[in-house]
């Protein structure tokens, strides 16, 4: 088992620095590192696994486009990728208006990975892109994995866990004890499913994004934005009166400052918190990918294999750092979500803590009442 894992690790480390795809045209274009990097971290309508000298292995994902007035169009993205259908249908590819724009099919065209219609009408792009296919894949992986673990818990009741179950149990217990119980308090069980799903979703997708030929899912700002909005919605729906009181009538604030405090608190709760969650995860993961890709691009900029050892060494170091960042960002996202939810469900007990004893000027001091002996 250990040898198998070592072999797998060596293969992934080797193949992770995948070669550039062979140019479709005959002419040699100058290497544009910015374009290569953006192409690798961005979304795409095809899933390009890898290329060898003579072949390319690409999965052409379906394009699903809705145009008001023309209805739904569903077809393979092979028809819109330049050069993918050269030998099959010369008549269709002859419709190209410019060489660089790509073939047109049913009045639709891919303009820099964006679906546009040739007559300028609005197009709603509902396609299964690379990120969405990766989302399905990783969701399936999580479903299968955690159903298996849950089944193991039912089967092995009263016995010690083994195998996959024993790997995930400390992590799940850590989330329950250190993150949920500490931040949310006694009502933590209601939120455990969401927190666990969030943690493992972010962690698995961060890790999967580092593998060769993978889709950069958590580096897609739409995905992280959705997660942040989910956190916001759960926080708002589980907020009790104390929470709204803290926003609209922050205790300890003199009345004159309230016109400033209320907008600040509202912006903090509704805008800054989801935005910071979104940007933090998106930027961390994307920046890591950009750094690794930049080191690879160095080899092509200098056009010499002598740069390769340095490039590989730095790239390896950054990749190991990215492994840490993967789990750290998942933990931070989950921890902050738990803290926001905890802030929302907190019970009203602050007044005794923050009260200032007006007789002595000490906070929370124990003053014997005159009637006590």
């Amino acid at each position: 088992m250990k040898r198998l894992l070592t072999l797998l690790f060596c293969l992934c480390t080797f193949a992770g620095f995948a070669a550039e795809p062979t140019e479709r045209g005959e002419k040699e274009e100058a290497f544009n590192p910015g374009e290569m990097i953006l192409h690798h971290i961005g979304d795409s309508h095809e899933w390009h696994w890898f290329s060898t000298d003579n072949n390319e292995f690409t999965s052409y994902l379906p394009i699903i486009a809705y145009r008001p007035g023309k209805g739904l169009s569903v077809f393979s993205s092979k028809r819109l990728i330049k050069g993918a259908e050269e030998t099959e249908n010369p008549a269709a590819t002859a419709k190209t208006t410019e060489e660089s724009e790509g073939p047109v099919y049913e009045g639709l065209r891919l303009h820099h990975e964006e679906l546009v219609s040739t007559d300028g009408s609005p197009v709603y792009d509902l396609s299964i892109t690379k990120n969405i296919a990766a989302l399905f894949g990783s969701s399936l992986l999580m479903l299968v994995l955690f159903r298996y673990i849950a089944g193991n818990y039912v089967k092995n009741q009263g016995r010690a866990p083994k195998g996959v179950q024993s790997f995930f149990e400390p992590i799940i217990v850590f989330i329950r004890d250190e993150v949920a119980k500490k931040s949310i308090g006694p009502k933590y069980e209601r939120y455990m499913p969401y927190l666990l799903t969030l943690f493992f979703f972010v962690w698995f997708n961060n890790l999967l994004g580092l593998t060769p030929g993978a889709a950069n899912l958590t580096g897609n700002i739409s995905i992280t934005f959705t997660l942040a909005i989910l956190t916001l919605v759960i926080t708002l729906f589980s907020a009790n009166k104390t929470y709204w009181q803290h926003i609209f009538a922050t205790p300890g604030v003199p009345k004159l400052l309230l016109p400033i405090m209320i907008p600040v608190e509202l912006i903090g709760a509704f805008l800054v918190k989801p935005a910071s969650l979104t940007i933090r995860l998106f930027a961390n993961i994307t920046a890591g990918h950009i750094v690794i890709l930049s080191f690879i691009a160095l080899i092509f900029i200098f056009k010499s294999p002598a740069v390769a050892p340095i490039s590989l060494a730095f790239g390896l170091f950054i990749s190991v750092l990215e492994l840490l960042v993967a789990i750290l960002q998942a933990y931070i996202f989950t921890l902050l979500t738990a803290m926001y939810i905890g802030g929302a469900v907190e019970e009203h007990h602050h007044d005794e803590e923050h009260s200032l004893d007006m007789r002595t000027g000490h906070a929370d001091s124990v003053i014997p009442s005159p009637t006590a002996h």
């Binding site: 940007i279 920046a287 750290l328 960002q329 931070i332």
Partner: protein
């Protein structure tokens, strides 16, 4: 002489991209200072009380991630400028 070289570069690629590059460097500086300070204080605290090293390490990582989040806000802005979005 260095100043005239910088001005030449700024003129060539455009002042906005030049500003974005300087901004990103400054952000890296700020984040490095912040996280370095946190790390230093964490080391001191662990040296002072080795039994609490687990808690200190956890807290240090959390704060480092928050500071890094802030730094990446600024990096995203610089990237947006340099890709003219």
């Amino acid at each position: 002489m260095l100043l005239s070289l910088l001005l030449q570069i700024a003129n060539a690629t455009g002042l906005a991209v030049f500003g974005a590059a300087i901004g990103a460097g400054l952000v890296a500086l700020g984040a490095g200072l912040g996280i370095g300070r946190i790390g230093g204080q964490a080391m001191e605290a662990i040296g002072r009380q080795p039994e609490a090293s687990g808690k200190i390490q956890t807290a240090m990582l959390i704060v480092a991630a928050l500071i890094e989040g802030l730094a990446l806000f600024a990096v995203v802005v610089c990237l947006l400028i340099s890709f003219k979005l």
